[in-house]
Assembly symmetry: C2
Homo-oligomer: 385 residues x 2
């Protein structure tokens, strides 16, 4: 029943479902030790992975589910099934809301599957009235984890030799780049990961975790916008656990760090990974709440800023910040770098890049200017609420 694609040795990179963006790489993956259960800190170093890739097949229609096999596909109560349902509903809701706000442009959809199970739906809106480029992708991935990875993570006694452990991962990933330099870019990504219980290691458990986040990248600071955005993130967090917002806010500031610039790519939001030390139902509800908070957190800001007049100088500054977005995604983002090195669906991975970007030599905003204030907040993250 289990599909096991041919395993090839690949360069050392992180696991896409641990990433900030583009984590919906449609790739069947098997993991080695270090990527199986990384520390919840923001370790950015390379992680060894053995990767198996199946070529995706384009599909004419969206299937009811990307889950495979009769048992999985017919289950409506499993966390896998409910998470897939949640991200596909979130994709529909977000895309409809964005189309309505854009007032004309429509998302173009690409559907694909993999012979061994899993698949995805990419939706992209390009050159709209409001958005320069907006991508909202979902995907489901089946892979196989090498036994050492599972054993190391779960403390299986060394005299037991579990075989390869199948895993499942599903996620939604989105980047929205507006045209108006006063309207911020948004990124969000929510993902769920689960292994089977190894059949030949009695007592070794099934494992699962959640990851994700939503973050805002404006070119100019409107304090009321940033406060509104962070407030909605905090509200979503506070419904579940009072420590979530401060912890995930800091995690976000740490993750979206462009090390060679000494600055963050934007003004943050929330980010979390490897989350499994709470009730599973609670975390499913939390991820759902976060995904449902995207539109209320973002669209009121867009409505206020999308039609503000701007000049060439302000547009150029937005483009320079887009350049930073490209630098972060191509150099640091774990999902993007993993996807590029392992041959995921390139167009889905790189949909996170802006339509246009700019690099000026040694550009320094004038001290005290609006551009300088944004840069200062990217260098020195602030508490917004």
């Amino acid at each position: 029943m289990m599909h096991c694609a041919s395993i090839v040795s690949a360069p050392s990179y992180a696991f896409p479902f641990l990433s900030g963006s583009a984590s919906t790489t449609p790739t069947a993956i098997s993991l080695t030790k270090r990527s199986w259960k990384p520390p919840p800190s923001m370790a950015k170093g390379p992680v060894r992975a053995t990767v198996s890739i199946e070529k995706e097949t384009p599909e004419a229609n969206r299937p009811e589910t990307f889950l495979r096999g009769v048992d999985e596909a017919q289950s409506s109560t499993s966390v896998r099934a409910r998470f897939e349902k949640m991200i596909r509903e979130a994709q529909d809701t977000v895309c409809s809301a964005l189309e309505a706000a854009d007032g004309g442009a429509q998302f173009k959809e690409d559907v694909w599957s993999r012979p061994g199970g899993g698949g995805g739906i990419s939706r992209v809106l390009q050159d709209g009235a409001v958005w320069e480029k907006a991508g909202v992708n979902v995907s489901v991935v089946y892979g196989v984890m090498p036994p050492d990875a599972y054993r190391a993570a779960k403390g299986v006694p060394t005299d037991q030799k579990p075989g390869p452990v199948p895993f499942f991962a599903a996620g939604i990933s989105s980047v929205l780049h507006p045209k108006n330099p006063f309207a911020p870019t948004l990124h969000f990504n929510y993902r769920y990961f689960e292994t089977d219980a190894p059949k030949d290691a009695p007592g070794a458990p099934r494992q699962w975790w959640f990851g994700g986040g939503t973050d805002l990248t404006p070119a100019y600071i409107f304090e009321e916008d940033v406060k509104h955005f962070h407030s909605i993130q905090k509200q979503a967090c506070d419904k579940f656990e009072p420590t979530f917002y401060p912890r995930f806010k800091k995690w976000c500031d740490d993750y979206f760090y462009i090390k060679h610039r000494g600055e963050r790519r934007g003004l943050g939001g929330i980010f979390f990974d490897d989350l499994n030390d709470y009730d599973q139902e609670m975390l499913l509800s939390f991820a759902t709440e976060c995904a449902n908070s995207v539109i209320p957190a973002y669209l009121p800001i867009i409505e206020k800023r999308k039609d503000l007049p701007f000049n060439d100088h302000q547009k150029a500054w937005q483009q320079l910040r887009r350049g930073r977005y490209v630098e972060f995604n191509l150099v640091y983002d774990r999902g993007t770098t993993f996807g590029l090195k392992t041959g995921g669906r390139i167009e889905s991975i790189l949909v996170s890049l802006p339509l246009t970007a700019r690099w000026e030599y040694d550009h320094k905003p004038e001290e005290g200017s609006e551009e300088w204030k944004l840069l200062d907040a990217c260098i020195n993250p602030k508490e917004w609420i």
Copy 2:
């Protein structure tokens, strides 16, 4: 006499003077085994390096030489001194020729030094009549190589324990991005590397090598332009060794490969690295000949194309190819990735990025179109002469 900056452990990356571009990272470096003498093949995997970095100091004036110490600075016959003289003359010649062709814009110069020796001159012309962005940098770097690296490379008997081996590296690096989509981007880079003979390992030799190349990245193919460009490269090669052009042409096609796209960034030229199996004087003359060939290979093409009329569609295609340039430089180029990870002078490293770039989702040129022909030649490298 020898300066030894504090050594910090850094992530694993390649040696900047082995790189295609931006290799003039102003960084004091010490290398471990794998980066000391990599195979001349195009290994793209990460290479472990222990790196020590000194902060650069801006200088008001260009010094006579960046060589350090009385002996070195007063020598006019050493290869170090002659190579530095050559790249600084090449920088002057190239910048003057570009300014004349641009007809108005001037290069802005930044000079810096490092307390322990070495330094560099960055020159950037931005938003000219012909060039959108043109950078021509030279630099001189002093560093220290860990003993294991030297021993492994030179086959020093294991009972001998040489101490850290000082090295010297100098290079010129340039990327020229024109505005007109029919005028091609040019990159060139020439570098020289040398170690001291280890004092405490009798008989262990001084080591040196040369690297570099010149390559052309058009958005549209004018066959006569590409033939002219490659002919000049071949002429420079043929003056020294008939195998050089075919060998370095293929090396160039292999190096500038955007693996996740399955395409090269442009139409190639020549590229070589770790070159030390010829007479040292011959290779110094060869590098000089290559650097002197930049203007005759490139400017006649610019003169023919800089004023051709173009439309928005052609400009957008150029911008998409600029996006590929960014992808190659940020994801694959060994000098850039090394520089970013180890804290070189960021503005000098990233001057290779175009002023503007573009990414469209799933863009595919129409089969048989001029854009398709360029893409085809990037996917399937051709013999131009």
